[in-house]
């Protein structure tokens, strides 16, 4: 193992898969010579050459659109969107093509494409650099969506994403790109898409979260320990959702909260709530709390700390659900 940050684990995951499978190509803005604006592709250009680590023109639709062609051709492109806020020019290519190539050709063509993007707030970045709109991609059939919250998961999930014969939107919580280190196996391994991780066991309430919100949620859980026994479920895979783990936890606790950065209305919290009441309504003791970003555009950074859920707000929300 190696002691890596999350972004280093991403890099490691890319390098390991590129070594294993020469059809894997990395492409995007500044991913080559510069090693990526967050250094997620650092050194890959020197290691694998310009035909496998490709600096593209500044055009997200172009990147994803050509990557779709490459994927249909037989390569396994990993396309980086420099920030999730800049994924939208490629939205049409993602939902109209990547997501549908298998269906449209009845499996004759598949689209083994990974679209990587750093997402989320908290790093004092300019406008559009802090979005998290995973819900939009989860709503699109044909896509998978994964978000790691630890270095080891980052590598394992990315490996699965690259090997997936279907397109995966892989969102990286840039707030914790370098926040902590973890022992990460040197060799290649998969963490299957579709499996959540129970980060903390608890019996009073189930709190569902993912990505950068996992840490403040765990912090809130610790702060409440003794008072409220909080189970924290890190979804990791947002599409498909691990309904089993989600529902099992709720059947145990009967109370729940969802924590996400994205705006509340239409966020993924709603889907989790809908699933819970479909599968386990009779266990429910209180409304499921949504502890989320507000229904406003993500503010410029002077206000971002007010926007993002942090431990105190999460604690309040948990208390609401428990004290109902």
């Amino acid at each position: 193992t190696e002691n890596l940050t999350l972004v280093q684990a991403v890099r490691d995951g890319l390098a390991t898969e590129m070594e294993r499978d020469e059809d894997v190509v990395v492409m995007g803005e500044d991913v080559g010579k510069n090693g990526g604006v967050f250094r997620a592709t650092e050194g890959l250009y020197d290691e694998f050459g310009e035909n496998r680590v490709i600096d593209t023109p500044l055009a997200e639709s172009g990147i994803v659109g050509t990557a779709i062609g490459m994927a249909a051709y037989g390569l396994r492109p990993v396309a980086e969107m420099q920030f999730m806020g800049f994924i939208y020019p490629a939205f049409d290519q993602i939902v109209s093509h990547a997501a549908r190539l298998r269906t449209r050709s009845r499996g004759r063509y598949t689209c083994p494409l990974v679209v990587r993007a750093p997402y989320g707030g908290g790093i004092r970045a300019p406008e559009h650099h802090s979005e998290s709109t995973e819900a939009m991609f989860v709503h699109q059939p044909g896509l998978k969506v994964a978000i790691p919250s630890t270095p080891a998961d980052a590598k394992g999930l990315l490996t699965s994403a690259i090997r997936s014969p279907d397109p995966v939107i892989f969102l990286e919580p840039k707030l914790i790109y370098r926040a902590f280190r973890e022992e990460v196996p040197t060799e290649s391994y998969e963490i299957p898409l579709g499996e959540a991780a129970v980060r903390r066991e608890g019996s009073d309430i189930s709190v569902y979260t993912w990505g950068a919100m996992t840490r403040p949620t765990l912090e809130a859980a610790e702060n409440l320990a003794g008072e409220i026994d909080v189970e924290v479920v890190d979804l990791r895979s947002l599409s498909p959702l691990d309904e089993e783990t989600i529902v099992d936890s709720f059947e145990k606790t009967g109370r729940a909260a969802v924590v996400h950065e994205a705006p509340k209305t239409g966020g993924l919290g709603a889907e989790i709530i809908a699933t819970l009441q479909e599968e386990a309504l009779l266990y429910q003791e209180a409304p499921v709390e949504r502890i989320t970003g507000f229904d406003t555009p993500f503010p410029l950074y002077a206000l971002e700390d007010y926007y993002l859920p942090e431990a105190a707000r999460i604690e309040d929300g948990i208390r609401n659900a428990v004290e109902f």
Partner: protein
């Protein structure tokens, strides 16, 4: 250099077989008599398929159908110039090219019957399924042509789109990526003068569509798209150039002689006179006279061709109808992912359960 020219560009236009049947012998491509007849038959086959499909649609048997009537030379000429391993990346009006490349007519009919089966490319044929979002597919062709380049192979991807498509940013991005990465790609813009009702003068101020290549630093050339010999010649050169990593944009000047699709009524936006003018320039007619002039086509051959086409199409229609009877609604769930995730499996089960109760289950 206070004020000086730093870059110059010209757009060339090619015509081999003129409307008045004069021929530039020097430019006539090197094709055997059989090949010339094949070009002709290919154009006719597509024309007849379109005509029969329109009739079927009018009888309520088919969904929306987009005929390529008038554009046969532009497509057959380019597709004919492709080699075995080459890829075709079509939009939704590419019957003539697809037929040349090997898609059986019943698949085209199945697609128009609303069956996904119609877009299931025969194995071994390098053809992506039709792209309905206008202008979205040239990027895929660049990806394919780039893939070929990255793997040091020398097939090319030929992609088709219209005049209207060139207004989509994605098409420009495709030109630009192709240029930067020497993608082995040929772009065939069929300028048929209309995007549904919108004439080319509302589509761009550019005087040619070929010149759009200049923005990406790649070559652009115009050809009389109703002259199958000119098209073939230009396409052949472009494809060879693309094989060497130099993408080319071909503008084929043609005319959409019929409706945009069977849902469209062109009388709302264009004059019958214009349509008659272009009828006179019809690519099949022009080539027919050429073949007759050369003694390659007589009434007997013509009849043989027609009969062959009619019987092929009759069979194709039968097969498509039969296939239509056999669609399995559960297929809807089967090609979303490689492995069906549990929630989708549950939906499929519920679906099957509900249908179990129905008579058509």
């Amino acid at each position: 250099m206070p004020r000086e020219d730093v870059a110059e560009f010209t757009i060339e236009s090619v015509q081999v077989l003129a409307e008045d049947e004069t021929v530039d012998e020097e430019l006539v491509p090197d094709l055997s008599d059989d090949q010339l007849l094949e070009l002709y038959e290919s154009m006719k086959r597509s024309r007849r398929l379109d005509e029969r499909a329109i009739a079927l649609q009018r009888r309520g048997e088919l969904g929306t159908y987009a005929p390529a009537i008038g554009q046969e030379a532009a497509q057959v000429g380019t597709a004919f110039a492709m080699a075995d391993g080459d890829w075709i990346v079509p939009s939704f009006r590419e019957q003539p090219a697809l037929l040349v490349r090997g898609t059986p007519p019943e698949q085209i009919l199945q697609y128009a019957l609303g069956m996904e089966e119609g877009a299931e490319i025969p194995d071994g044929e390098g053809a992506l399924p039709p792209a309905i979002p206008v202008g979205s597919q040239p990027l895929h062709a660049v990806g394919v042509g780039w893939g070929e380049a990255l793997q040091d192979r020398d097939n090319v991807a030929v992609t088709y789109f219209g005049d209207g498509a060139t207004s989509e940013g994605d098409v420009y991005e495709a030109f630009n990526f192709a240029g930067v990465y020497d993608a082995q790609t040929v772009f065939v813009c069929q300028n048929n003068r209309y995007a549904i009702s919108t004439g080319i003068e509302k589509q761009t101020k550019a005087e040619t569509f070929a010149q759009k290549a200049i923005a990406a630093g790649i070559d652009g050339i115009r050809v009389d798209g109703n002259d199958v010999l000119g098209v073939y010649r230009v396409a052949q050169e472009a494809i060879e150039q693309a094989r060497d990593g130099e993408p080319v944009l071909i503008e084929a000047l043609t005319y959409r002689r019929s409706m945009h699709t069977t849902s469209d009524d062109p009388t709302a936006y264009r004059e019958p006179e214009e349509e008659s003018e272009w009828e006179a320039r019809d690519p099949i007619l022009r080539f027919q006279v050429f073949l007759e002039d050369r003694g390659l086509l007589d009434d007997e051959t013509e009849d043989e061709i027609d009969e062959r086409i009619e019987s092929e199409l009759a069979d194709a229609i039968d097969r498509a109808r039969t296939a239509r009877e056999e669609v399995d609604p559960a297929d809807m769930f089967r090609y979303v992912y490689d492995e069906m995730p549990p929630y989708l499996e549950a939906q499929l089960e519920a679906f099957e359960a509900e249908r179990g109760g129905e008579t058509d289950g």
